[in-house]
């Protein structure tokens, strides 16, 4: 009994350690490539540990296989086909899908509440955060990708102060949905929250210019870490909480570092040139080199 409990715990600890070493190694040129492999290994370990802890029924395995097949193959193809010059938008696409995954898990728990059924306040708050941040990450990342690809123009109204009014009303709608959610877990408030958060993600990303996009993608990447941590609270996985928190915090630091490198402040990136600040340094989008 004790041995059975200990093994997955040790695997989880090993995975956290490798993830941390991976993030650390990725910030140095000489170690970056092996660190990336280390992080991938950690991810495999984490999945292994979870499968030991939570045995799956045959039917569950079937659905795991379907999801794995679709996501894995599409990821493989996308990663190989995409041209080197399109890296920031590719990262944005992947990142958005990570946010969508957290959103879907929270939706599943809210709509069908598996497990014990009695949902406490903590679970409700986690669901709200997971849906809110996940939806913003998804729609924001897709807009970021569209702008970098040149599929989406910047509409004129987004350059006026009107956008602040639009975004604030969307945020208020999110808040209203969040407050009403505990009374009616699977009803209208949930969908208000989903729709308003998605629109808010579009509303805050759309006004930002292409040169600043890598910074925005980095910030959205940080958000997807937060969404993962919230999903960790929803399903009760400590490994997920710690990994999500790590990525969320590290992503925030990286965003700051990228802003500094571009000689911009985060505030001027997020709220536009109207607040002043230096002109964007050219070539920010081509850093992938």
């Amino acid at each position: 009994m004790a041995g059975l409990d200990l093994l997955p715990a040790l695997i989880d600890l090993g995975a956290v350690l490798l993830l941390a070493l991976g993030i650390k190694g990725l910030s140095k040129v000489s170690t970056a490539r092996s660190a990336n492999g280390l992080a991938a290994l950690a991810m495999g370990l984490a999945v292994l540990g979870l499968l030991i802890q939570q045995p799956l029924s045959p039917q569950a395995w079937l659905w795991v296989a379907i999801g794995t097949g679709l996501g894995g193959v599409l990821g493989l193809i996308t990663a190989q086909r995409v041209p080197m010059t399109a890296m920031p938008e590719t990262v944005a696409l992947f990142n958005g899908c990570g946010g969508m995954a957290s959103l879907l898990v929270a939706l599943g728990v809210a709509l069908f509440s598996p497990g014990e059924g009695s949902s406490g306040l903590v679970e409700q708050i986690s669901i709200v955060i997971s849906v809110f941040v996940g939806a913003i990450t998804f729609s924001g990342s897709i807009v970021a990708m569209g702008k970098l690809q040149g599929w989406i123009d910047t509409p004129g109204w987004t350059q006026s102060t009107m956008r602040h009014a639009v975004n604030i009303s969307l945020a208020v709608a999110c808040l209203a949905g969040a407050i009403a959610l505990p009374g009616d877990m699977a009803g209208a408030p949930l969908w208000v929250l989903v729709v308003a958060s998605s629109l808010l993600g579009i509303g805050v990303t759309l006004p930002i210019g292409g040169a600043d996009m890598p910074v925005v993608i980095s910030l959205l990447n940080s958000y997807s870490g937060v969404a993962a941590a919230a999903a960790g609270f929803v399903v009760g996985s400590q490994l997920l909480i710690v990994a999500g928190a790590m990525v969320g915090a590290a992503g925030l630091i990286l965003t700051q570092v990228m802003c500094t490198a571009m000689n911009r402040s985060l505030v001027s990136v997020l709220f536009g040139g109207a607040l002043g600040g230096a002109a964007p340094v050219g070539g920010g989008g081509e850093e992938a080199g």
Partner: protein
């Protein structure tokens, strides 16, 4: 210690660790690091798998879990591979000088 307190401690310590992990990052590594961190944020596969495991064979939960797993794995697999492709470009040049930018 209740499960919640424990989870909050984990959240706090994880965040502090994340804040400390990255110090100086050379500009050439900004995009690869962002991409690598993005792949790691796909760790939400664990949430998808847990949802499937706890679905008790209810079809809607299995479908949602599977869909979520697909999105998350797209993030993980694509993220790590794309990061590796970017970093592979460094190894051809001298590691000391890194990129030309």
């Amino acid at each position: 210690m209740s499960a919640l307190t424990q989870a909050l401690w984990v959240l706090l310590l994880g965040s502090l660790l994340g804040l400390e992990l990255i110090g100086k990052v050379p500009p050439t590594l900004h995009t690869p690091l962002m991409s690598g961190a993005n792949a790691i944020s796909g760790i939400t596969v664990l949430a998808s798998l847990t949802l499937i495991a706890q679905a008790n064979d209810q079809l809607p939960l299995l479908v949602l879990g599977s869909l979520s797993l697909g999105f998350a794995l797209f993030n993980v697999v694509g993220g790590f591979l794309v990061t590796d492709r970017m970093l592979a470009m460094f190894s051809r040049k001298s590691p000391r000088t890194g990129g030309t930018r």
